[in-house]
Amino acid sequence: MSEAFKGGGRLPAAFMNPGTSSFVEFLAEVNPERLPGRADLPTGRPTEHLTPEATTIVALTFPGGVVLAGDRRATSGNVIANRDMDKLFRTDEFSAMAIAGAAGIGIELAKLFQVELEHYEKKEGRPLSLEGKANRLAAMIRSNLGMAMQGFVVVPLLVGYDEGREQGRIFSYDPVGGRYEEHRYHSIGSGSVYAKSALKKLYRDDLGESDAALAALQSLYDAADDDSATGGPDVYRKIFPLVDVITDEGHRRLPADEVAELAATVVEGRTQHPDGPTAPVS
């Protein structure tokens, strides 16, 4: 800040120039060292386990909205680094993102993306379109490419309610910043293969909000069943997956007791059928 406050405490010119609507670009101009992913990394050192890995995230749409859910575990190799982590981030009224991969970088990315959206909205007097938000996030992941090449790969999943189309939408990304729109359902992270397979069998186009949340919990249970890095519902510690719902009324985190009830339904069902609900063969 010292540089910024030459001239008797007056806000420096960079703050007053009309210039960009992007907070990231503004910060790159006045305080580049505060941006994540800009640091020069020493090469040739093993970078494993410097930051824990965030694991499985699922998302699915339902008529009028979208559900985003994540397990609570973060791992560092074979060690459980954190058992009650929150990997879902409300990015604005109508969008949320979740992260899988290098947790330390992912959390910073989510925080920066949050500010980026809000900053744009305040400067321009209206929020970005969902499409615009998705593109902006792609560019921010691309700027982390250097870190990704060193092993700090982070991939987010963005969900949002598109006010123009009046539906929930899901966007997935690759570490290079490639942006892909996913239809109906998607999953990322270490347990994503199992979660996605489960969703494939559970998904229906006419799911209600709470059934969609239940399907998300079922799929996370299946992921935890087969992937050691994904945490299942912890009934003794009362740690359950987190579920965010976005509809035309905005973003809402399902209250803990509501999720606990849904999780109890899942666990109860598994005592009868350990592999969960089955789909008809034909």
């Binding site: 405490g9 806000l11 007053m16 009309p18 305080n31 505060r34 500010v115 900053h119 305040k122």
Partner: protein, 244 residues
């Protein structure tokens, strides 16, 4: 070569201040007042897109009168300052006082250093946990800061508006009642009585009970309904007054 005339520093400052004051008085007024649920901002503004009132951060809002390009510049600087501070530390570390200080320093140095002072007067309002912790700062063109309580008016013929507002202001009034007082005061600008309609008003609130970002614009049907509600209460009051 002609010799420049000597002008005393006092005279220079006085001229600058007069210039700024005149510029600010040319525009329409804006008022800021506390109500039972937070802080209400009302500006006499025909434009629906060129705002005089806007959000700076979660609990902090900005209102300005005077030259649009100048206060828009300040608004943008405030948003950037608040966002970078909140990103570096925590969202709760961004305060109205901090922003008021930055604005005061900026306007103060512009006033002393440049030939043309900025013709703006701004307010930074911060809604706290309780009404007692609400903060309203008024920053004038020369960089002076005043910590205000209850209500204030600025721009246009601010003195007239303040006088009317003082009569009408009730502590812990409802939003409709506070809005009615504000609109009544703005309508009495210049001593004349005008009709102010929803379309020529810019209204926003910092709502204490709102989660996340407390700033909200009040417009369209909601504004019309609130105005009607306040109006109905006013007429009822006058009726009872005349009865007694």
């Amino acid at each position: 070569m002609s010799m420049p005339f000597y002008v005393s520093p006092e005279q220079i400052m006085k001229d600058k201040a007069d210039y700024a004051r005149k510029g600010i008085a040319r525009g329409r007024s804006a008022v800021v007042l506390q109500y039972d649920g937070g802080i209400l901002f009302v500006a006499d503004n025909m434009s629906r897109t060129l705002h005089k009132i806007s959000e700076l951060y979660d609990r902090v809002a900005f209102a300005a009168v005077g030259r649009y390009n100048e206060f828009e510049n300040l608004r943008l600087a405030g948003v950037r300052y608040a966002d970078s501070h909140g990103y570096t530390y925590d969202r709760s570390d961004v305060t109205g006082q901090m922003l008021a200080n930055a604005y005061a320093q900026t306007l103060g140095s512009i006033f002393t250093e440049s030939n043309k002072p900025w013709e703006v007067e701004i307010v930074v309002g911060e809604v706290g946990e309780t009404a007692d912790s609400d903060q309203i700062y008024r920053i004038t063109f020369d960089g002076s800061v005043v910590d205000e309580r209850d209500f204030l008016a600025m721009g246009g013929s601010a003195e007239h508006v303040t006088t009317v507002l003082r009569e009408r202001y009730v502590k812990d009034a409802s939003l409709a009642a506070a809005l009615s007082a504000a609109v009544h005061a703005l309508a009495h600008e210049n001593g004349e009585q005008r009709e102010l309609e929803a379309t020529s008003l810019e209204v926003a609130v910092l709502e204490r009970a709102r989660p996340h970002r407390k700033f909200r614009r009040v417009q369209g049907d909601r504004l019309t309904a609130l105005l009607a509600q306040g109006h109905a209460a006013d007429t009822k009051d006058t009726d009872t007054d005349s009865d007694t």
